[in-house]
Symmetry: C2
Subunit: 298 residues, 2 copies
């Protein structure tokens, strides 16, 4: 079954959709979006949309997230009203994924609320690039797939045999493993230790010695850059030679870029799932690996 690949408006979404359509050898179009003087969003489907039984709607929820959510709700509702029942929603960056439980009594579990709404608005199935926790996708209540980009991104990285991939914490360990295995190198994660005398907190690789070695730090999201900068500083102090960073989603909020550069990082690689708010990471187009996950048959 051939789907129309539909960019949901905005630079990131439309370009991701364009690349996805090429990889799928599928037709491509975009939704027209605008903002009224009072701030309300507006969306209009392209004329050809209603002649397809199946649509692959691409909408990244990067900044400004809430405008993206509103546009997406309007788009899904409009597609449903056009009688298009088979809607695959592809979200290169899923916002609200880090608020995935009630950390404090009374907190909204934002990712749960959002995924339920997307399903209710008419998405039949969901593909997401590297959501913060893959388990969160259960809230969608339908077929939902998390696509890991690291194996595909590995093809674009040049490493030597002695390179080591480091996760900044145990939560990103699986990510480090996937990237390292694709690169054929070692991997590890940073553990927190507290000096018994001074009480000072430091982070060290659990197993490997990074002295004199090239290091790649891997994480899913770079927001304010605090975690990356802290990790890079520790690794440099431990004797690491060159430090690069691989992230799925380089939000790079505020002064994140200068903070990361100041910590001694040489290069940041990121997927084309968001528009970075600062800096100049190297962007790797991961639409082909999403196309592969889609099975090439939509």
């Amino acid at each position: 079954m051939q789907c129309l690949v539909l960019g949901g408006g905005g630079w990131v979404s439309d370009n991701f959709a364009f690349s996805l359509a090429r990889a799928l050898n599928a037709p491509f179009s975009t939704v027209y979006t605008k903002v009224f003087p009072d701030g309300e969003s507006y969306v209009r489907l392209p004329g050809e949309a209603s002649s397809f039984e199946s649509v692959c709607l691409v909408k990244s929820l990067d900044y400004p997230q809430d405008k993206g959510v509103a546009e997406l709700i309007l788009e899904l509702d409009a597609l449903r009203e056009k009688g298009i029942r088979d809607v695959t929603l592809i979200v290169p960056y899923m916002a609200y994924a880090r608020q995935d439980r009630e950390f404090l009594e009374g907190e909204a579990v934002s990712i749960r609320a959002l995924l339920r709404i997307l399903r209710a608005a008419g998405a039949q199935r969901l593909y997401v690039v590297e959501v913060h926790k893959a388990e969160s996708l259960k809230y969608f209540g339908g077929e939902a797939v998390n696509v890991s980009p690291y194996e595909y991104m590995a093809k674009f990285l040049e490493v030597d045999d002695d390179t080591v991939v480091i996760a900044p914490d145990i939560g990103a360990y699986g990510r480090a493993e996937r990237l390292a295995k694709a690169l054929g190198v070692e991997f590890d994660y940073l553990v927190k230790t507290r000096d018994r005398v001074t009480g000072e907190v430091s982070y060290k690789p659990k197993e490997v010695n990074v002295e004199g070695r090239n290091v790649i730090i891997v994480d899913d999201i770079i927001s304010t850059g605090g975690t990356i900068a802290k990790s890079a500083g520790m690794l440099r102090a431990a004797g690491a030679r060159r430090i690069d960073v691989v992230a799925a989603h380089a939000l790079l909020v505020g002064d994140a870029w200068s903070r990361i550069m100041a910590s001694g990082v040489t290069r940041v690689y990121a997927a084309n799932t968001v528009k970075p708010q600062s800096g100049s990471p190297i962007i790797i187009d991961v639409a082909p690996t999403v196309a592969e996950a889609l099975g090439g048959n939509r």
Copy 2:
């Protein structure tokens, strides 16, 4: 049944909720909202929320609308997860109400999409202050009530017997009628006429002569102020003495205020449903009339 009146965050919503709680003689609390550095919204219910079976959630969707929509979705989902099944949603200003049909092929019917989502997220019933078209509320798919504020606002206006209420177009005629009847004065609407020789378009009252009389223009929403300014200009040219404006929702986008003042309007009265983006209209607290519509028994 006593409900907890819950302000959904933001100045307008929390103040409206406070006044509503007083009018209902009901307990009052607010949702804590904030924004993360990356732009994501966050909401947390107050601790006492889960000890109520019934909640009246007040959330105005004025600017920035999409942030309000996102917060509202999170709030409704959190209330549902706390086991609170009886949720009455009170929306002082309902955004997206003017996009109430497919004017151009493929356009999203935004109000339909929004109302469906609010229902799906867990609102059992809906009270709205003066939605653009009351028929739109059918999309909610449950009990939905439009509350007209004009009768209540009339109590705060001083008029003489010779005052006339004017709707800027036939669409607002019902509004003019409601306000005029409450004030005990005449009402009319402006009709478009085109000069057969010059082709020039002008607007004139359908029936009444405004010469030497005080006029009140009434409309539901003032956005950029274009309609009001144009109407006031025409009425002034037709000899109106003093021109005031009564609106439910004074958005006053951009240079709306100076445009309206330049057109010869003396005073603008509006309900407390939005935070005006410019100018200084006289704000009338209409929460008591919403309380009355709620029946005083929630």
